[in-house]
Each structure stands twice: as structure tokens, then as C-alpha cells.
Amino acid sequence: MLPEIESATSRNDRVFIVKALAEEQRIDGRKPFDARLRKIQIAEDNSGVTVQLGDTKVMAVITADLEEPRADGGRQREGSIRFKVDVGPTVSFAADTTRLSEDEQLITRLLQKAIRNTGVVDLEALCVSAGRKVWALAVYVTVLDHAGALVDACFLATMAALMAHRRPDATVDASTSDITVHSPDVREPVPLSLHHTPLAVTFALFKEGDDLVMDPLLKEEAAAGGQVTVVVNTAGQVCAVQQLGGLGLSLEQVMRVVRIAAGQVEDAAAQIRAALDTHSTAQLAARVRRQQGHAAHAAKAKAAAFLDVALPPLSTLASVAFEADAAGPSAAAQHQEDTEMRMAPPPGVPAEQPTVVNASPAGSTQLQDVSDSAARATPDASFDAIAARIAGTQLTSAGEGKAVKQKSRARNRKSDAW
């Protein structure tokens, strides 16, 4: 379909993908309607989220600024939200700058349509003082790695970021009409008021559109005749549908895809919620600890956090923990690894992104890839260090049954970061 991707995928690969699909087999061992493993990490200060969908990695960061509202009619009491998607040229092997900028534009447009235009964010709640100051949200979506279903990952990251976002509270003095923005220490930052949760589900279509797979890999996208991305919210309402690649579909086929998509988002949304829950619990725990401890104690914890990288015991423990998790792999998972080894060539893409990401535009967010399950499994480790880590960042991984992939990833990560 896309010549650039085509050139990165061999003809044999493509034929194989199509043939295997006839027997409902995919090259990474998934069933047609299985999504890849999702991971959602939320930054400590709620400013950003990193999402992994298989190997596709996307980061979303939200900034909020006080601005004057738009002058045109009826917008005086409304804040604003805008999106900036950045698909760097380093992202995929088939990098072609024009194609990538087209991707950027397509995703931006879809985010605008499905999130801004359907009123996900209550813009009126972003008004501080009508006609004078409103909050202007900017969502920066940065693609770190593209391994298929980019749109899905971008939506996941954006929605998670919106749900995690906390903006400082601002009040207007009734007598002087001065606007005060309160520091997070003084007043609890305010979450956004969100009306619904749209998420994208991408399908790759094969053979006249009768065979389809959800959450395609990059190779599957290249082998497919076309793609359909459906954005649905958890209430089953369709927010946007976009067909790509020009494979002609009948009305029934399109509707079938839309219906399947509608049944799939709840799962992803639940994962975001779970991630948020763990995150807020941990945040709360960290705060309680911070307040209980004396100043000296806090300083100690801080020092430990700085030493973080140089703490060998924990990293060993982490990987042990992963292996413990994987001790009883299900038959399916075993099969999955086998298939992967048989069919997938060694990954040509550069090794994983470094796990310590320091990329918020504000330059303040540090995301550290630390599994809380790992932390839980280390009763002997220094309490201070763990406390600092939990306070540092959170990672939740759902779908623990598929730990095999996680295991290998954990090993990779060990060499990268620890």
C-alpha cells in the first residue's frame, strides 16, 4: 500500500502474513482480535504519560497556560485545547519525511476531531475569568517508536494524559478581580473535567476486507490492503472513523469493523483507570511518607533517589521478580514465544529507547521505568530507596499473563538503564 513501507518489508513476508491470517495466525502469535500488551506510565507530577503498545511507544505531555480567550463569538468563556503530534524521523526504519509529516497531520486531525470536537474536555470549566483569562491546554504527543497502530497509541497516551493532568487552581479575587494561581503546595491541583473517553482502534484489512486484524504490527500494516481506524468511547459512541489505504469496502464490512471496535475500548480504558489508580495510591502513599518523616529523613530519601541508578540489588531483584512472574507461563504464552522466534527476524529497529526519559517541554518530568510489582517483591531492599522510587514514578502493566514478552524486555532494559 505505501511504497515506503513496502520497501522495508519483503514480498515473502507479506505473502506469509496474508496466508497465516487465513488460519487466524499472526506473526507475533496473537489472535486477530488480540491487542498487544499495553503499558501506561504516569509522571510523578502528572504532567505527562508514556504509553507502550507492543513496541510502539508514545509520550504525551500536557501544558496549561493562562491565555486570553479567543475573540470570536461565544468563546469568551471557554478555554482551549490544541494538539501537536511529533513523529520524529528516527522513529521507524521506513522513515520518509514526507510520509511521516502526513502521519503527523493525520493523527493531529483525528485527535482534533475525536477529542476536541466531540467535547471530551469541558472547556467551560477551563475558564478562570470570562473574557480575560482562560486555561489553554496544549497536548504534545511525541512518538518514540513506531511499530504499528500508531493512532491507537497516540489516543491512549492523550487520553491517559488528560485523565492524569492536574492544573494549578486559580481564583479570582472578587473585589480587585486579580487572578491568583495557587502553588500545588498550597492548594490541591485540579483535575480536568472530562465528559467521555474516546480511544482509537485500528484494524488492518486483508483480502477484499473480509479478513481483519486488530492492533496491527507495522509489517501487517504494510501487507494489508487498507486500514480502518475507529475512535469509540466507553459508552459505545463512535467519535470518528477513518479509512486509509483505499481498499474498497462494502457498507456491511465497515459496520462490522465499527461494531468490533466498539466492543474493544472498554478493556483499554480499564487499563488507563487501573494505571491511574495505582498512580494515585502510590502518590498518596509517598506523600504520607513524606509528611511522616522528618526533614532529615526526606533528605535521605532524596539522596537515595539520586543514587538510584547505582543501586545494583534492586535491579537484580526486579528481573528476578519478572522471572518469578513468568515461572508458570501459560501454554499460549509459550507458543507465542516459539512463533516469535521462528518467524520474526531479529529486530532491525534500534534497541529500546532509554528508559529514563527526560523530555517534557518544561524539562522537569523524569519518567523512570520501575515496576511497582518489582518493588513489591523486594521486602529486603532499603525502605528509603523504595519509597523514593515509588514516589519517583509508577508503572503498571496489565495483562500479567503475557509476561514472557515482559521478561525479555526487562532483560533488555537491565542493560540499558541499570
Partner: protein, 245 residues
Amino acid sequence: MELLSPEGLRQDGRRPRELRNLQSAVDTLGNADGSATFELGNTKVMAAVFGPRAAQGKSSGGRRDADIRCEFAIAAFSQSERKQLSKRDRRILEVRSMLKEALKANVLAELMPGTTIDVYVQVLAADGSIGAASLNAAFLAVADAGIPVKDLMAACVVGLVQDTPILDLNQMEEQMSRGPSLMMAMHVGLKKIVVFQADGRMPVEGVETLAELAEGGCQAVGKAMRSVLLDNTRKLALARGPVRL
């Protein structure tokens, strides 16, 4: 303002499922290999096709199919408020990539290896449904250029206003209604959907209702386009002299 009157009529007096006055013509420009204008009410779009000609540019050499390139522009005076959009504007780029995708899906590019086909679309007057009108104009121009295609392709826009599905939105309806809308293009003979762009919040059944209406709209537009193309062919045949069978 209410977009639908209590009697169920729209602001411009149309019934919900009524198309605006549709006019189209092919072979309107002298320089192009194929050209067309397409009018839908006050929306007027013109398209030109140059090619297939020997591959242009570096990347297209040695391809096994034709390289289809598109350009899309909106005249500064085409809207009620003067606005000059740059070629890099997001709205321009969006329509451009839609046109390109749709034409790629329709043109039998593998029959013309090593060639380039340039499709240029210019909006002269914008009163809603620009994307659909542009695609229709582009298709007519492609057909006029004698480029082999899979099937006649037609596009239209439908929307949902006060829970009533309406066909062929004009500018005011596009701006005022915050309801869902769907732009759809299909191969009218094969009944295959090529472009499906829905946005706005609606239940799954809503998508189906809209899609069914859009299918009807595409068929109607396609019928008009077919007759224009047939007329043109008849004219060309006559100009050639009597046909002997």
C-alpha cells in the same frame, strides 16, 4: 438558530435528504489532459489532470505503477470572509491526502508503470462539502483524461442535525451543527466504500444510518456524473464522424 424548521425543512428550503443543485462539466480547460468543474449549490470546484506522462522527479523513476500526485488549493476569495490559506495549511493538507488516497484506490496505476499523473484541484467558491466536491471534480477530470479506473467514484457529505440525517451539508450547516458528520466516497457500481471519514459523537446505529444515507447520496451524485461523462463521450464520438459498427 434552528437548522431545521418545524416543518422539517432546512434553512435553504431543502428537504433533509435533498441534494443541492448539481452541475458538472468536463473538458473545461485548454491546457490540461483532463479537466472538469463540479458545482454543488454555491460550491464550485475545478480540477485538472496532467498525465500520464513520463515520470517526474527522482523518487518515481523505476516504479511499477503510476505515481499519482495531488495538489489542492482554495482561492482567497472563495469563502465569505477573505482568507488566504498557505499550501501547508492543515485543512489543505488534509483534503490533499484524502484526494490522493482515494484516487490511488481508484486509478489502475499498475497499467501505467513509470509515469506520473498530476491531479490539481482548485476551489473557486466554498459553501460546504468541499472535500466531496473536490473528489468528484478530480474524478471527472481523471475520467476526462482517459485514465483507466476501477469504477465510477462519487462522494458526498451527510450529517446529523437534531437527530435527523441530512444530505449534502452547506457551509452554514457544517459550521452551526455540532452534530456528527460523515464524508463518504464509493465506487458506485461495485458498491465499495473508498473513503469513510466520520466524526462527531454518535451511537453505532447512527453511523449506520448516516452511511446508508451517504450511500444513497453517492449513488445520486454518481448518476449525474455518469450522464455528464456519457454526454461528453457522445459529443466526442459525433465529432469523430459517423460510427460504423
